[in-house]
Amino acid sequence: MPLSQAQKRELEAKMQEFVGLPISEPKPGRDAVNEPMIRQWCDAMADENPIYWDAAAAKEAGYDGVVAPPTMLQAWTMQGFEMAEGYDVPKNNEHRLHKLLTDHGYTSVVATNTDQGYTRYLAPGDVVTANTVIESISEEKATALGIGYFINTRTTFTDQDGDEVGWLTFRVLKFVPQQQPQAADDGGAGAAAAPGIIRPPMGHDNGWWWELVQDGVLAIQRCNGCGALHHPPRPMCNQCRSMDMGHVEASGRGTVHSFTVIRHPQFPGYDMPILAALIDLEEGTRIVSNVVDCRPEDVHIGMKVTCRIDEVEDGFKLPVFVPAG
């Protein structure tokens, strides 16, 4: 059940209370930096750099002995096995923030960005402590994975003497998952199926419009009360307040009002770049669509275009616009 605007505002106000808070008391990692964990890491990464394996090679490279891979920094203070329990019983502020979002339908989480600096390489015996602060939380964003909020944290790592050994910023997306297409029938023994395009939401007010698209028709909603045309479809006329709505079929002829060429981010399932355009239809309404069969350098404001309904995926059609010929 999607949240109402009021519920969303309430959720966002509660989320903002976490900004600036440490996730917990600084806590030293359970184990000091040690060779077995270093070797286990290097096995998984197939990392044969001898400074992680062999004291003599490490000395030759200028260290006192074996060192830990610097990218392992975060591993020394990870919570480990208890992470599998989730946070139904939150143990720190980060859990409380995540649980707040989970309880509102934002059930999934992925890491999206990290920036890290390594002040020095860690060596066996070092005891690492993480000091993490919840730095900021984004507005709600629509992403290829689903809608959600980006949560940014900043961590400073110190050693047994209190000296900084590194730092990182970390961004996760806490989101409402959307169903991914099922893997094709045994197409390559469990190989990940290529993702498709993000389907539009088809609700009470606009479902009929998409159904007409599937029949090859570009429709424009028309108020049966006063005749005003609307796009996108809405439940009530903004001219006469009638809720009696019909539609007309558009000619498909239009003009590029404005456009942008989307090169990043590169969403899985899309051919990049995407020419996204605002099209003035000759009937007087405006529609957001893609211009296709056109090079990015050729699209321009005022360009005449014609609608074409393309089957972009098996069984799913989208209206697109091509240069008028």
Partner: protein, 140 residues
């Protein structure tokens, strides 16, 4: 792999040899556990499917580990990694392959520090776009 590159060996625009990383369950789950990341989506396929993925997928620490390894495989044991910046995109799901490529985008002769841009690409698109900063020995 005892040979190390020195700063004079490297020029902006140099490309690193490509590396294909097969995304087996052992790599995904082994990487998650080696980084003490027991988040269920990285070892439990039912949990991953509940999140809309086909199977378990790589955690970011393993991605970081592969980026670091990719650069030091090329630069050698005397290269010192000073910073890493990673933007994650398409998840690395079991059964896929991550194709890594990289190139040198900047080099500072005073500090001996270079920056390598690394991309890890899978069947869905770019899994990771990253930059790794390393300091190289100054050479003779």
């Amino acid at each position: 792999m005892t040979h190390s590159l020195t700063f004079p060996d490297v020029s902006v625009g140099d490309e690193l040899p490509p590396l294909d990383v097969p995304l087996t369950s052992a790599v995904i789950v082994g990487g998650a556990l080696a980084s003490r990341d027991y988040t269920p989506v990285h070892h439990d396929s039912a949990a991953a499917r509940a999140q809309g993925m086909q199977d378990v997928f790589m955690n970011i620490l393993t991605t970081n580990g592969y980026l670091g390894r990719y650069v030091t495989d090329w630069a050698g044991p005397k290269a010192r990694i000073t910073a890493l910046s990673v933007k994650l995109g398409a998840p690395n799901v079991v059964g896929d392959t991550m194709k890594m490529t990289g190139s040198v985008v900047s080099a500072d002769a005073d500090s001996g520090e270079i920056e390598v841009e690394v991309v890890g690409r899978n069947a869905w698109g770019n899994h990771a776009e990253g930059k790794v900063r390393v300091t190289l020995p100054k050479g003779a």
